[in-house]
């Protein structure tokens, strides 16, 4: 099952913030059920996209060594609906990363107007059963697919590259 709720990163500043685009299209099947004759992207999936933007930012900051799991949304406010034809820009900013977890503040803008805002808390989990969800190959493919390494900037200002450990782990699986 594919679970991508962002289309592409447009900015990715390691350890600081990331921006991602989500284009909403009437070709997304689920919009015809939510709601019949009034398609709108469900707020839960917008929140998922905002969390994916922030979650990958946190994962990269941790060099993909931690299992970063969405644990809590202390606050989420949606100011208007997002409908087919809209382009949403999600911004996620790291508030903190600690050994036990992390938090990001996120916004969604539609045509330059604030559309939604949320706080998202992630936990670092180490349960062995989570292993298959955090396959290094999947991470590498996801980051490449979303263009993070095309536009990303590392903490020292150099172009963002995949951590060596992630590449080795991904290659080791092949």
């Amino acid at each position: 099952m594919r679970w991508y709720w962002i289309d592409r990163f447009v900015e990715f500043h390691s350890g600081r913030y990331a921006k991602a685009v989500k284009n909403i299209s009437l070709s997304e099947d689920h919009l015809h059920d939510h709601f019949p004759n009034y398609p709108m992207l469900p707020n839960s999936l917008i929140l998922e996209g905002m969390a994916q933007t922030g979650g990958l930012l946190v994962c990269e900051h941790n060099q993909f060594r931690e299992k970063v799991v969405l644990a809590k949304v202390p606050k989420a406010t949606f100011h208007c609906a997002a409908t087919p034809g809209d382009q949403l820009i999600y911004t996620a900013k790291i508030e903190y990363v600690r050994p036990e977890g992390a938090m990001v503040t996120t916004t969604s803008h539609k045509g330059g107007v604030l559309h939604a805002e949320a706080e998202v808390v992630f936990a670092h989990l180490n349960h062995p059963k989570l292993g298959s969800l955090f396959d290094p190959e999947t991470f590498l493919r996801m980051m490449r697919l979303l263009g993070a390494f095309d536009i990303g900037v590392a903490a020292d200002g150099s172009p963002l590259t995949p951590p060596r450990g992630l590449i080795e782990a991904a290659n080791g699986k092949e």
């Binding site: 644990a71 809590k72 202390p74 606050k75 508030e95 903190y96 600690r98 938090m103 808390v121």
Partner: protein, 130 residues
């Protein structure tokens, strides 16, 4: 230098934001887990908000020493040993552990911490006036 009242107000704001509770629910006697419904992940959130509100650092395990509760030297048959209680008293001078010491079941520990304990914890880290 904040007053004790200002410390309480900031803690109340942090708990309202982190736990989604009403201001009126956050009384000094309210327990974080039992009355305000805090879960383990909430402590990470609460610690962050306290650090930001008071410009302090709270190392892992300082407010909620979970490491003691998972340490086999301090826990036997699901209960914290006398040595464990002594260690908790040392690590948590801001909390009243007397009631817990009478029935030191690990699962009861989460219901121990009150808002007043949290105020005392912060007051131990920032200078306050009356």
């Amino acid at each position: 230098m904040p007053t004790k009242e200002e410390v309480f107000e900031k803690i109340r704001t942090a708990l309202v934001e982190a736990l989604g509770v009403d201001e009126e629910e956050v009384t000094p006697q309210a327990t974080l887990v039992g009355d305000l419904g805090a879960e383990s992940i909430d402590f990470l959130d609460i610690v962050f908000r306290l650090e930001k509100a008071f410009d302090i650092k709270i190392p892992r395990g300082e407010l909620f020493p979970e490491d003691i509760l998972t340490d086999a030297t301090y826990v036997q048959d699901g209960k914290v040993t006398e040595a464990g209680i002594a260690e908790l008293r040392k690590r948590m001078p801001f909390a009243n552990l007397d009631a817990f010491a009478k029935n030191p079941a690990v699962q009861e520990f989460g219901s121990l911490l009150t808002v007043a304990d949290m105020c005392r914890f912060v007051e131990g880290k920032v200078e306050v006036t009356d």
